[in-house]
């Protein structure tokens, strides 16, 4: 079995594929944190049109399967509308489109986590800030959001771990990440099915479990004590 393992790792770029998974995850995580924060600012803003837009966006995108979004970026955005995201090679275009899709989808869950975080901040905090004369952007940016972020690190970690697993869906548009390689491998070497499944399952356990444990520990450390 050790020999078979060695040949598998020699013949296929397993670590390379997992590296693509990590890249997809990190880029989408950064993007979705930013877009999710913008969305939550819209959802609690004093301008009704923005609140309406934020709610509509969340309700539409959250109820769409991620697979539909990812397939739509490739089939619709690229192959029909000709959007290439500034890339020329097929795999780069697919990668960037996948990141775009993941950001659009994951931002909904970041936004919803942050909104529940805002609800945990005590009313007195923003009342005091308003009494000092701070405007909406200052209350949100300086007082409420920093505390909200600290209280939702746990839920946000869950969102990011779900994102890690969701990046496998990029296989649907041919991005060379872990799941696509696994599909190719088990079709070629069907007799080694369980070994290959084990490698990839373990790979994902290694990516997700420590993230959960570390971020869970951080969330306890930085939680606002009340």
């Amino acid at each position: 079995m050790i020999e078979e393992l060695a040949t598998l790792f020699e013949e296929y770029r397993i670590l390379g594929a997992f590296w693509v998974t990590v890249q997809l995850t990190v880029l989408s995580a950064i993007g979705s944190l930013i877009w999710g924060t913008v969305l939550v600012a819209m959802r609690v803003s004093p301008v009704p049109v923005m609140r309406w837009f934020g709610t509509a966006y969340i309700n539409v995108v959250r109820n769409t399967p991620l697979t539909v979004i990812i397939v739509a970026t490739s089939l619709g955005l690229w192959q029909t509308m000709g959007v290439t995201m500034g890339a020329e090679r097929f795999d780069t275009i697919g990668f960037r489109l996948a990141v775009l899709g993941f950001i659009a989808y994951t931002a909904c869950f970041v936004c919803e986590s942050l909104r529940s975080g805002i609800n945990t901040v005590q009313v007195g905090q923003s009342e005091a800030a308003r009494a000092l004369g701070l405007g909406f952007a200052q209350v949100l940016g300086h007082i409420v959001l920093p505390q909200a972020f600290r209280s939702v690190i746990g839920p946000l970690a869950s969102v990011m771990i779900a994102l890690t697993k969701n990046t496998t869906i990029a296989a649907a548009i041919g991005v060379g990440e872990a799941a696509l390689l696994m599909k190719e491998m088990i079709e070629n070497e069907a007799d080694l099915l369980f070994l290959i499944t084990g490698i990839f399952a373990l790979g994902f356990v290694c990516l997700t479990l420590p993230t959960g444990l570390i971020l869970g520990w951080i969330s306890n450390r930085v939680a606002v004590k009340r």
């Binding site: 049109v49 991620l66 539909v68 939702v152 869950s158 779900a162 356990v205």
Partner: protein, 298 residues
């Protein structure tokens, strides 16, 4: 804290400013929509000819969309029906007082929550083609359902556990005090109350399952709704309209399920004071290694 606490009630000046922001935002949004529509018109995706198959007739629905939707419903329905008892079994096993029962159950649940559902589907598909002799379409259905059951069974195990733990301790104490055994306590006192508490979470999980069937369609080739996008778009030359119609179907189905879940949750909360409820929010973001609904402010 409600969001209205974040800003003062607008006075005349602030009202004028808010109107200005609203107008600016609407102009930006209108520009964006105009730009998108313009690009679509340029590629000829707006013409009635492209939309006619979906809006002006039933043939496209009968040939492509409805059979796909039927398969989506079949896979999702089978998955939740099989996953529920499995989830209940593992959820209760994790609560067992015996280490040799609770530990293996925990390992299984955490493992299947950590592995992407696509990996499970792919593996099941090849396993069935190796060790069983199903026709291709049936094999795809079985592979998709297997993947969904393994993943959602472990998530539902956590829901069941949270449901049982949400019941006030006085209930168990009272049951033990009148001389019930542990098994009687579970079947006669805890489970009946936990089932009602879990209903909203179970309906929300159904949304996740419906969304995840699409993975099997796009990657494995299971002939469900998203799998009908390519053939339909190739036949009618209308990629964008097909994608929009398919997305709209998913959104409508899931929106109804989500609304039903939150209505159920509200109804359960108001029906009787002190009833415990496991909320369905954000259920798909439950990560391995983390307590259900725990970690932060939720």
């Amino acid at each position: 804290m409600s969001s209205a606490v974040l800003y003062d009630t607008p006075g005349p000046k602030a009202k004028a400013r808010n109107v200005l922001y609203a107008v600016l935002f609407l102009v930006l949004l209108a520009l964006l929509v105009w730009w998108v529509l313009n690009a679509m018109a340029e590629k000829g995706q707006l013409s009635w000819l492209r939309w006619q198959p979906y809006l002006g007739g039933t043939e496209a629905w009968e040939t492509y969309l409805l059979p796909g939707l039927q398969n989506t419903a079949k896979a999702a329905g089978l998955s939740i029906l099989i996953a529920l008892p499995i989830g209940a079994f593992f959820g209760i096993a994790r609560l067992s007082d015996h280490r040799w029962i609770s530990w293996p159950a925990s390992v299984v649940v955490e493992f299947f929550r950590a592995v992407p559902v696509l990996i499970l589907m792919l593996s099941a598909n090849v396993a069935y083609s190796q060790f069983a002799d199903f026709p291709t379409d049936t094999r795809y259905l079985y592979a998709v359902v297997t993947g969904l059951v393994l993943y959602n069974g472990s998530v539902l195990a956590e829901v069941v556990r949270a449901g049982i733990l949400s019941i006030p301790r006085g209930q168990s104490e009272a049951a033990l005090a009148v001389g019930m055994r542990k098994g009687q306590l579970m079947t006669n006192v805890l489970l009946p109350q936990a089932v009602t508490a879990m209903l909203p979470a179970i309906v929300s999980q159904l949304v996740v399952i419906v969304k995840d069937t699409a993975i099997g369609g796009a990657v494995l080739g299971f002939p469900e709704l998203i799998n009908s996008v390519r053939p339909a778009a190739a036949y009618y030359f209308n990629v964008i309209p097909t994608l929009i119609v398919v997305a709209a179907i998913y959104i409508a189905v899931n929106f109804v399920l989500t609304s039903f879940a939150s209505w159920l949750e509200k109804w359960l909360r108001t029906r009787k004071r002190g009833t415990s409820v496991v909320a369905g929010d954000m259920i798909e973001e439950q990560a391995p290694g983390m307590r259900f609904g725990g970690g932060g402010g939720i």
